[in-house]
Symmetry: C2
Subunit: 332 residues, 2 copies
């Protein structure tokens, strides 16, 4: 696998997909880029930028082969970088006619497949028979907006294949992106998923007028939940305070821009979930993550008071003020 | 030691002293309160509140015995809660005529004695021969402003004496203060001291236009430095992600109100240390902490790239932009 000959595709039209395109185009001459809607592609080519996301990032569209045909993009490319919100991933893939065999699958998705409760690496392995050594995940504390501004950011690439991480390192490393390498795929995926639950809970407690002192305690307890849960589900000598885990949590839970936190804030302020959903135009990853982790944990029974509280509020109509008060007595 | 008969004194007139007075007065009828300046006391009694700090918190001054005489307050009280900035502590104590023997010393100070590089518990033990079992420290992520607003906050009380922690638990526990107990005095003190260095470094990088992605990585690395340093200096089976350690770091390093962070921000924006000092009216704890930890670490030689960078910037006139850039390549 050599950079110049490797054909790289990005799948997804959102802000994270756009940030990744910007990064990858620092290192390769040309990319393939799949977006579902032809109008978005037309507008992108017309404007020289994504019309909806990271509108400050300009692109040389001569270096991008756009397509709204997922079969075409998969046929053309060797490395497929998925940056599609996890709840919609199966929708995109269900019209697949070409094989994913022999493709390198990179997940830039921080979420799970709802109902099936799969993390993305497991999903591709189980349902598409992709061998683990052809799968990698990209994570880390990384607001797409800051990538657009070329503010120094750190990504962690996780794969069991050191050959693959080497290639990906050369594709993703730039002046403004520092890369760390890991082989803790499941830990990094679960951690990235769980952080959105804590971002929602940060928002809920903020909406209920809890302050920064409480937030600091909530997040200290949150990283302990992540550590314990990841150790239960995937024992690995990880240091949970590395940026792929703690950093990713901090980047989201302390972000005023996190949509999960905003969703939680609305719930804390008294919006119903339905109303918050209508207002935001979509359901945030953390909502699905809450159910996934809650259900997955039935098998492991690790003590997850924050996740359980989120579940009670989001799925059992529990009163946020009462539940956060109860939770506050379990935190230390 | 029973609450009703125990005579409790607070030493210091700042915002943290005021917050502690508010907490303690929830549980005891009367407190002794030492402030250096009689004008501040007069004004406090006149207004029914501290004229300079936490002006939203009102007090029944009939329940407070004020004095500007440190000898008097020490003579009268059994439990002395020190909330004086560490650089000034020795100034206050140097006129002591009465003995501290048999007194219970509680440090609410998050800092070190400059030059001597003592943490507060060691200082009282070494220079005033207070036995360790009569010393406790209070720490935790706790902005005084939020205590004034009665927003739920968490404090950790650390002492080797379980009898003492029991008494302090009853004095400090209120509807809006949850208490955790620890016997890791040195770890909690060093952690509280070090966090101010990272708050300065957060400010410096913010001043240099590094964003939230970098901040998340900086803090992830910071807690690893705290963990490693504390393990080197005081081996103890601590969980560094508990709120007394990580929470305290988060509460400060992510606070827009942290004076240490503000100080760093000015340095990052190009102020000289002298100019920042004049503008802020004092030198922040983190400035002294940087030298203390840097020097103390000469013996332990634990790898502290962030502390070393802070030292180079604050004490060796190194250029912030260059040093943060160098540092950024050491973080993961």
């Amino acid at each position: 696998m050599e950079n110049k000959n490797t054909k790289i595709a990005i799948l997804g039209g959102g802000s994270w997909a756009t940030a990744i395109a910007k990064i990858v185009l620092q290192n390769v001459d040309k990319i393939y880029w799949y977006m579902r809607r032809q109008e978005q592609i037309d507008e992108f080519i017309h404007l020289g930028k994504n019309p909806f996301y990271l509108t400050g990032a300009r692109f040389d569209t001569n270096r991008i082969h756009f397509t709204d045909d997922i079969n075409q993009v998969i046929e053309l490319a060797d490395i497929l970088i998925f940056a599609i919100p996890s709840p919609y991933l199966e929708d995109h893939l269900k019209i697949l006619k070409v094989s994913l065999e022999d493709k390198i699958i990179i997940s830039a998705i921080k979420g799970i497949i709802p109902e099936k409760n799969y993390i993305i690496s497991d999903f591709f392995e189980a349902e598409y028979k992709i061998p683990k050594e052809n799968i990698a995940v990209i994570s880390g504390p990384c607001h797409a907006e800051e990538v657009a501004l070329e503010r120094l950011s750190y990504l962690t690439i996780a794969s069991v294949s050191s050959e693959l991480t080497k290639v990906l390192h050369s594709i993703f490393s730039t002046d403004f992106i520092n890369i760390a390498i890991s082989n803790d795929i499941a830990g990094i995926e679960y951690s990235a998923i769980m952080k959105n639950i804590y971002a929602i809970m940060s928002g809920i407690s903020h909406g209920l007028k809890y302050g920064d002192n409480f937030q600091a305690v909530l997040i200290s307890n949150a990283i302990q939940e992540i550590d314990g849960f990841c150790n239960a589900i995937h024992p690995f000598p990880r240091n949970i305070n590395q940026s792929a885990y703690l950093g990713d949590l901090l980047g989201t839970a302390y972000s005023q821009f996190s949509r999960n936190r905003l969703f939680g804030n609305m719930i804390g302020k008294g919006y119903s979930i339905r109303a918050a959903k209508i207002e935001l135009g979509m359901i945030e990853e953390g909502y699905f993550a809450t159910k996934c982790i809650y259900e997955t944990n039935k098998k492991y029974k690790f003590d997850l008071p924050i996740v359980n509280t989120a579940y009670d509020i989001l799925y059992n109509n529990a009163i946020p003020a009462t539940k956060i008060k109860e939770l506050s007595n379990k935190l230390v």
